[in-house]
């Protein structure tokens, strides 16, 4: 029924290179993908099955030469089926969509704070790697619900990695290195050991990312956040008190992901202070925290 177009610039089929589980619910998908995505942009994944038609819009977690990494959580039947797709198979993927983070104004030597919560963390890795390549200093404040993921990758960017986890858990046990993680590490760097050392130095941080943020004065030139709306609202308020603007990446249930259906709107203030509707998929997903009307 959903026949493929021979050549359609909007979406094409791309091969799955790797597909692995990061935590109980979180998966990492690596595609052979040749288009350039800016940090904060997303792609639509299409299952192309007759019963589940809508795209899964997923933020870009990482981009390397010819490779695109996406991290997603199993949240329903669609993502459950997605998790069963295997390397060697192809998936229909859109071109990069949406407006990502503005970073042009940052100069070499300046610093940025990256604040992520849960599945809002993966897109910050693409941002971290992009900024690190421009020699911008990085600090993270990451909040996990339970199992953490991608911490090694953030470490590798040279960032000062701060993170916090919601429920109590056994820290040392958590970071016993899974064999695959050790194998993929750079030679000579045992990230699990680094993390064990961190845990020995500090009390295991427990709470929400907003607790982490409230804990100190952040001396940075730019702030970027991604996570649940309630978290972004609080983060925006916290940073405003410190006199720091923040760019936030909003999540909203989407239909088409490219601006036609008007399903994923948010309310923002225009430059004259009037409330207007914006499409999260094309006008965002990234907005300035100060322009978002949070309780619309």
């Amino acid at each position: 029924m959903t026949k493929q177009l021979a050549s359609n610039p909007f979406s094409k089929r791309y091969e799955i290179i790797r597909h692995s589980q990061l935590t109980e619910a979180v998966w990492q998908l690596v595609l052979a993908y040749d288009q350039k995505a800016e940090p904060g942009q997303f792609v639509n994944l299409y299952l192309d099955e007759a019963d589940l038609l809508l795209p899964r819009p997923i933020s870009v977690c990482r981009q390397e030469e010819g490779k695109l990494t996406l991290v997603y959580a199993i949240r329903g039947e669609g993502t459950r089926r997605l998790a069963r797709r295997e390397p060697g198979q192809a998936l229909r993927v859109s071109q990069p969509l949406g407006k990502g983070y503005e970073t042009d104004y940052l100069q070499k030597g300046q610093t940025a704070l990256l604040i992520g919560g849960g599945l809002g963390i993966p897109p910050l890795l693409h941002l971290a790697e992009t900024l690190a390549a421009r020699e911008i200093g990085l600090t993270t404040a990451l909040g996990y619900r339970d199992d953490s993921f991608l911490l090694e990758e953030f470490q590798k960017t040279g960032a000062e990695v701060n993170f916090i986890v919601e429920p109590p858990f056994s820290f040392a046990e958590r970071f016993d290195p899974p064999s695959s993680a050790t194998a993929s590490s750079e030679p000579g760097t045992d990230f699990a050991a680094v993390l064990r050392e961190m845990s020995a130095e500090k009390e295991a941080p427990r709470g929400q990312v907003t607790d982490l943020l409230a804990g100190r004065q952040w001396e940075v030139d730019a702030c970027f956040a991604c996570g649940p709306k309630a978290m972004l609202q609080k983060v925006t308020a916290q940073l405003a008190e410190m006199g720091k603007p923040v760019q936030v990446s909003l999540e909203e249930r989407m239909g088409c992901g490219y601006g036609a259906c008007v399903g994923c709107v948010c309310r923002v203030l225009d430059p004259k202070g009037r409330a207007i509707s914006r499409k999260v998929c094309v006008d965002g997903p990234v907005f300035w925290g100060s322009e978002v009307i949070w309780n619309a």
């Binding site: 026949k3 909007f10 589940l52 038609l53 809508l54 909203e252 249930r253 259906c261 008007v262």
Partner: protein, 308 residues
């Protein structure tokens, strides 16, 4: 071979897009919208409407629910900002009219009567707004009253878009035909609901929404066929068209043209792909015109529908 005439307006082919599923600006990034038989704009009201709160979209098996609530910038902003872009393409523009009352429908129709828009589509079938919309479309007398009032406010060919959420759709079709409609488009979405059982609440902020996509196609084909027995007006058929063969089904049921909706949300270029597939079907089955497909449908014989 593909050209059709709908209420006196020449379309170069029988494929348009369903109102509310199409943005010319976005579509133009991937294909020339001028390749379509007509372009149907999203519903526009006399004043700006904010639409419903989010979530507005829910996925369902073989389809989707939407409760956008006819968010639109108002007719003046539409004429200024959107219409000039739509008129860049060598194809007729249809504007879908939204309103809460007969007066509002009349006001927006009058305003558009001064423009170069080719056709108007009266939306008396949106399930996602509290007043107006479906309230007018589910009662033959109300449907006739609003059609008649708008008919008098414009010289443009007037399409009336029908809702499937009625007992006797043929009765509504006859009522709008008698009231002066020039064409019928059908079907709008079927009213539906989805519950997130893990959080024990409806997925849509509006609780209910309109079901579209291939799940509703058999209902739409049946209703087009019923309305074709009841009226002689041109019918623009829609409801879950995903392929050229789906479109041909509507033509055989009695539609004169078709609109692609949900398929375009899954792939912006779906309307032009479906057009190409219709062409391929016609070559394969040796049809020389779209009208010939429709006539074939009439000769299928069998049961004649009289009572809906």
């Amino acid at each position: 071979m593909l050209e059709v005439q709908i209420a006196g307006v020449n379309w170069k082919n029988p494929v348009t897009v369903a109102s509310g599923t199409f943005s010319a600006r976005e579509a133009a990034r991937w294909y020339d919208p001028g390749r379509l038989g007509a372009l149907t704009a999203k519903g526009v009201a006399i004043e700006a409407w904010e639409g419903n709160p989010t979530p507005r979209i829910a996925e369902t098996w073989g389809g989707m629910l939407n409760a956008v609530g006819l968010q639109n910038p108002g007719v003046d902003s539409f004429i200024e900002q959107e219409l000039p872009f739509l008129e860049n393409f060598e194809t007729p523009v249809i504007v879908n009219l939204a309103g809460h009352s007969i007066e509002e429908y009349v006001a927006v129709a009058s305003r558009l009567n001064e423009t170069a828009v080719a056709m108007l589509e009266l939306n008396i079938s949106c399930p996602n707004i509290k007043e107006g919309g479906i309230g007018f479309g589910s009662d033959p007398d109300m449907a006739a009253r609003v059609t008649e009032a708008v008919r008098q406010a414009t010289q443009k060919p007037l399409i009336v878009k029908l809702t499937p959420n009625v007992g006797d759709i043929a009765a509504i079709a006859r009522a709008v035909e008698n009231a002066g409609a020039d064409a019928i488009s059908m079907i709008n979405t079927l009213l539906g609901m989805k519950i997130d059982v893990h959080n024990a609440k409806p997925v849509l902020a509006n609780w209910t929404g309109g079901l579209s996509g291939p799940a509703i196609k058999p209902v739409a084909v049946r209703m087009v066929w019923q309305v074709r027995q009841a009226v002689s007006l041109p019918i623009i058929g829609m409801g879950g068209i995903m392929s050229g063969e789906d479109a041909v089904e509507f033509l055989m049921a009695g539609a004169n043209a078709v609109a692609v909706g949900t398929a375009g949300l899954l792939d912006p270029a779906a309307p032009v792909r479906i057009l190409k597939e219709i062409e391929q079907f016609m070559e394969l089955r040796h049809y020389k015109s779209v009208e010939e497909i429709r006539q074939t449908g009439r000769m299928m014989g069998g049961r004649t529908e009289r009572h809906g």
